[in-house]
């Protein structure tokens, strides 16, 4: 058996298993973001948004659509991997992978692939929901798709690292609740940072999610608070660091081997 074809089979097995997992429980994984985002579009987009007027030259609902789509992608990519990999530790079926000749990078790629699949699926669902409320135009398909996928990879990897360290179900909800949600809400989903006083504008620049949301907004609307190249650079650096760190954790068996 060719080594690379064996790796491909192992990767596609993990990926298929991960996709089947979130599809099997679609009521918990796909439906809630669709409902939440519908409420966001109705309340913030239509009811409140029409009172707000324009932001950066766009109707308010058009301004918040990119951020809301990417927020769904971020939270679902993260949630899929953190819950799935932690469950595999908790039920000990991670051992099925540890005893098999699967390289650690294939294990990571399989789980991250599953997170990306859920992030992208939810992103598509939310985009379809958004189309009921406004016309979505795409300024740059390349930038849009690239941010969509790379952000998903980044947060799926972050979810994997969280799961490696987690020792209880509490541990897998702490980061999403106390880190991810504030960073996303303060990352310019609902406002342009140009509205903030200069001090808070500077503080906002330390938030990596701001760069992703703005790059995605650039892909859809053609406007961004920060240079798109800087956003891509930052996403790439974060992705490389987190993937490297996750592989190191796997190599050392942190949280999964004694």
């Amino acid at each position: 058996m060719n080594r690379w074809s064996a790796y491909w089979t192992a990767f596609s097995t993990i990926l298929f298993k991960e996709i089947m997992r979130f599809v099997r429980i679609w009521v918990q994984t796909i439906l809630p973001p669709a409902i939440t985002m519908t409420l966001y579009f109705v309340i913030f987009g239509k009811l409140i948004g029409e009172q707000i007027g324009e932001m950066d030259g766009f109707k308010y609902i058009d301004f918040i659509v990119p951020g809301l789509i990417l927020m769904s992608v971020i939270s679902n990519s993260y949630a899929n991997v953190v819950s799935s990999f932690y469950s595999s530790k908790f039920q000990r079926h991670v051992e099925e992978l540890l005893i098999a000749p699967v390289p650690n990078w294939v294990i990571l790629a399989g789980y991250v692939g599953g997170g990306v699949a859920r992030g992208v699926s939810v992103g598509i669902v939310v985009t379809v929901v958004a189309m009921f409320f406004t016309d979505i135009s795409v300024h740059s398909y390349g930038v849009t798709l690239l941010v969509f996928v790379v952000t998903s990879i980044l947060f799926a990897t972050a979810g994997f690292i969280n799961a490696v360290y987690a020792n209880s179900f509490d541990d897998i909800s702490i980061v999403p609740t106390f880190v991810l949600t504030p960073l996303t809400y303060l990352g310019g989903v609902f406002y342009s940072i140009s509205l903030l006083p200069s001090f808070w504008q500077s503080v906002s620049l330390a938030n990596p999610v701001l760069y992703m949301i703005n790059a995605f907004r650039y892909g859809l609307l053609g406007v961004s608070d920060i240079p798109v190249a800087a956003a891509f650079g930052l996403i790439a650096v974060f992705t490389v660091i987190l993937v490297g760190f996750a592989l190191r954790l796997l190599d050392r068996g942190v949280g999964i081997k004694s």
Binding site: L98, I99, P101
Partner: protein, 314 residues
Amino acid sequence: MHALSIRGLEKTYGNGFQAVKGIDLDVPQGEFFALLGPNGAGKSTTIGIVSSLVNKSAGTVRVFGHDLDTDPSGVKAAIGLVPQEFNFNQFEPVEEIVINQAGYYGIPRREAKARAEQYLKQLDLWDRRRSEARQLSGGMKRRLMIARALVHRPGLLILDEPTAGVDIEIRHGMWAFLKTINAEGTSIILTTNYLEEAENLCRQIAIIDHGRIVQQARMDELLRRLHTETFVLTLADPLSAAPVVPGYPITLREDGNLEVTVDAERGVNPLFAGLTELGLKVTSLRNKQNRLEQLFIDLVKAGRLPKNNGEGRA
């Protein structure tokens, strides 16, 4: 070539506990091998290291010539593991668990499905293939783990207490299955608390205690070393006092039957002659405990006492 060869294996956990203290072990290819020891002796740690679930602190492990340090993939591909605890996704269908495991070993899905069908049928699980694993009985879950461990057709199958909590009928069925795959060439290492199981199945045995191998030999040789055996004799007419037969310590049981310890060299013939002389009719005879169990207890005790004494003197 050995199916498994271990040299100087050591494991010290992060809390300083040394679970394995320099084990040397050889399991010949095609062997049915018992690894026995009391709870906490180091059996599961040793198995964990061999199957890549536990990082070793020192020593070498070779499986069919593949070195765990330089060729871990070769080692992993050659081993099938049936662990002590259930370690599958409880919410996944039975067939998917086996197919996915094959996929991790690089077996394409079509081939994996055919193999899953073969092993699930052999282990009487085919009718439950679409059930979620959590819906299976304890015995079925054990058999599912055996099917999963065999799906990549490993040369060495390691079973860590595979029949714990399994009823007698299913246990005997599993023994027959394991004997068959061993006869077909699969080397097997078994740990069990049912010493009758080890005596029935295994041709070689190693006893591990306090992280060290205290005995390794062929099963028949080991049993031959058993100097005394204790028998329970059922009498046609129960007694109220123990009879006296010279050379045989006889005790009276609560039910009026007899218990006697027989030296292997002396044999049982003079005992029966003596009992017949006393007019006693023996209707049945059985070992008080499994022979291997008796030997196991003797060896573990023997292994512990000198060490404890030695530590006391130092």
